[in-house]
């Protein structure tokens, strides 16, 4: 029996472990090795150069420029996305006019709203990029946004959007927020549904308004979920590769205004064949991501409330 058990365990684990080890674990380990070389991709032509790649990275203005944009995204995108997500979820679940004898209800049609809001989550980032490329089209009559502004008489607000250095990055961030709010609406709705109704009813009897209910009851009880969502959104903000690659002017332009580290890494590796240097960028990304996750967990930690 025991013998059969171990044979069964080994048999069931062998294949998944092998696939995972070859295609995930081994590249992970190799990334650290490659980052220590000046490899250009030729077999056996890698030379060990120690920490030179990291040194080059620290002194590269291009890299800092790209990293700066990722950090701006890392700070702004999660805040706005989660705030909107919480707001909509609260409206959908608790903000409704009461009916059917229930004290706390969602607005009418909350299922429909959730269905629509969640939509961008299921479609490919390529398609989202192409759609927004057309929305941001700088031509006053071709662009969806510009022609809409023109039609309502707001010609003065028309802009080159992605072609305008000062707002190009904000335009990219807006798309990330647009695409991800629905995820958090659904996530927070599910979490809110697990908050017992009688807590709300008690607060209501004590005369709490909606703002009070939100900040004193909903938010503290959802804090765990908010924290996890924050980390998720931060990881998405560290990416932005497809959006920038497909939408931005000259890939990362105008004049480097929308450049991000993943795009730098991709170009360095697969256009310039500097695989060692690009690997060092990858490790820098790992460090920033882990730092972000640790800081979030560290500073957002609160007393956990059981209910």
């Amino acid at each position: 029996m025991q013998h059969g058990k171990y044979r069964f365990i080994a048999g069931f684990l062998a294949l998944p472990l092998a696939v995972y080890a070859i295609f995930v674990i081994s590249p992970f380990v190799q990334a650290f090795q490659i980052a220590m070389t000046d490899w250009s991709g030729l077999k056996g032509a890698a030379k060990y150069i120690g920490f030179d790649n990291y040194d080059k990275l620290v002194h590269s203005d291009e890299f800092w420029n790209a990293l700066k944009h990722n950090v701006i995204m890392l700070v702004l995108v999660p805040v706005v996305t989660l705030a909107l997500g919480l707001f909509f979820a609260f409206m959908l679940n608790v903000g409704g006019r009461s009916r059917r004898g229930a004290v706390v209800t969602g607005v009418r049609g909350s299922k429909f709203y959730k269905f629509v809001f969640f939509f961008p989550q299921v479609i490919s980032i390529t398609i989202i990029s192409v759609i927004w490329f057309n929305i941001y089209n700088p031509d006053p009559s071709d662009g969806m946004l510009n022609s809409l502004l023109g039609a309502v008489g707001l010609d003065s607000l028309q802009s080159a959007w992605l072609g305008e250095k000062s707002i190009a990055l904000a335009c990219i961030m807006l798309v990330m927020i647009w695409a991800n709010v629905g995820f958090y609406v659904v996530l927070f709705s599910a979490a809110m549904a697990s908050i017992p109704r009688d807590i709300y009813e008690a607060a209501l009897l004590d005369g709490a308004g909606r703002a009070h209910t939100f900040f004193r009851i909903t938010l503290p009880l959802l804090w765990d979920t908010v924290q996890t969502g924050w980390v998720y959104m931060g990881i998405i903000a560290m990416d932005a590769f497809a959006l920038v690659q497909i939408m931005s002017v000259n890939m990362g332009g105008p004049d480097g205004a929308t450049d991000v580290v993943p795009l730098r890494l991709y170009q360095t590796a697969f256009r310039d064949s500097q695989f060692g240097y690009a690997s060092a960028m990858g490790i820098a990304m790992l460090i920033v991501t882990l730092l972000f996750a640790v800081l979030t967990m560290r500073f957002a930690r609160r007393e956990r409330i059981e209910f």
């Binding site: 294949l15 472990l17 696939v19 995972y20 709010v181 659904v186 497909i246």
Partner: protein, 306 residues
């Protein structure tokens, strides 16, 4: 007159009593204002999300000149040839086929391997169990960009056969990258299932393997559906991995093909074809989303909920 005047308040109190405490919301003036306000904002956001998507659909019937020149107009006549052009000339048909092959195989592979590993890790104690579990779970935190460079060479220099830009290569990579979350999810799921049924099957003489496939897997169906949808959507929409690992145009998947067509629009200007191609690429996920809305939402958010 007097009787009526007396009856009205009585009726009102009765109604208020019947409706119980819920009148409290409405009695506050902020309630009504907020309600209009909240509906207003919700509708604005719904339009912001919904309109661009509907726009793609209706643009796929317009001529390329109209898509550019008057982006908001409805189609003047239906240009069904956009769809044919997209399918044949722009190769969307081939990309579609490639995507079906790759995603079909990798979703099945992920489910089989992921639930096998998850089952063993959830139900059997053996030395190294925790280590293997955390090895899988750690994979969720690796940035894909960091892995993609070495991975390119793992596929290129694979002993015996190059896996770069081939179906099997892409399928294996998709499976490997989906395993961390799948194993994490399925381990948690198998832990929630009762042990008694499996024990009964073993007493009746079923082997471990048979118990797994004929007893445990059918019991795990709800979990399998959630994680299956999660993997299907993730792999169907995958962009970076095929971009790097699948640079042979004959093996392009839909996301790559669309990105290429989009980047070429400066020269070609076949916007109608591009819009039709995007609709074709969206159709399968739309069908899944319409049919399994609840499971899709539950599946995609499963990882972030405690």
């Amino acid at each position: 007159m007097t009787t009526e005047a007396g009856a009205v308040p009585a009726k009102e109190t009765a109604a208020a009593e019947r409706r119980g405490g819920r009148e409290r919301w409405r009695r506050r003036p902020e309630g009504a204002v907020l309600n209009v306000f909240s509906h207003g904002i919700l509708i604005v956001w719904a339009l912001m999300v919904g309109l661009p998507l509907i726009w793609v659909l209706w643009s796929s019937f317009k001529s390329s000149g109209d898509i550019l020149g008057s982006p908001w107009s409805l189609p003047r006549s239906f240009h069904f040839e956009n769809w044919a052009h997209a399918w044949e000339r722009a190769n969307i048909g081939r990309y579609f086929g490639n995507t079906i092959i790759v995603v079909g195989c990798s979703v099945i592979g992920t489910m089989v391997l992921g639930s096998m590993a998850g089952y063993v890790l959830a139900r059997f104690s053996f030395p190294g169990n925790r280590f293997i579990y955390y090895l899988f779970v750690a994979g969720m935190s690796f940035p894909v960009f960091m892995l993609v460079i070495p991975l390119f060479f793992v596929l290129r220099d694979f002993p015996g056969v190059t896996l770069l830009a081939t179906y099997p290569g892409l399928i294996l990579v998709y499976i490997a990258f989906s395993l961390p979350f799948t194993v994490f999810f399925m381990t948690a799921f198998f832990r929630t299932l009762p042990t008694s049924v499996a024990e009964a099957a073993m007493i009746d003489g079923a082997s471990h393997t048979r118990t797994f496939f004929q007893v445990m897997l059918p019991m795990a169906k709800p979990g399998l559906i959630s994680i299956g949808i999660f993997n299907f959507l993730g792999q169907w929409n995958q962009y970076l991995l095929p971009m790097v690992l699948n640079q042979n145009e004959h093996h392009y998947v839909l996301t790559q093909g669309l990105a290429q067509i989009a980047l070429q629009q400066g020269y070609d200007g076949d916007w109608g074809g591009l819009m039709a191609g995007m609709v074709i690429a969206m159709l399968p996920v739309l069908v899944v989303y319409f049919l399994f809305q609840r499971q899709v939402q539950a599946g995609l958010t499963a990882g972030a909920l405690k």
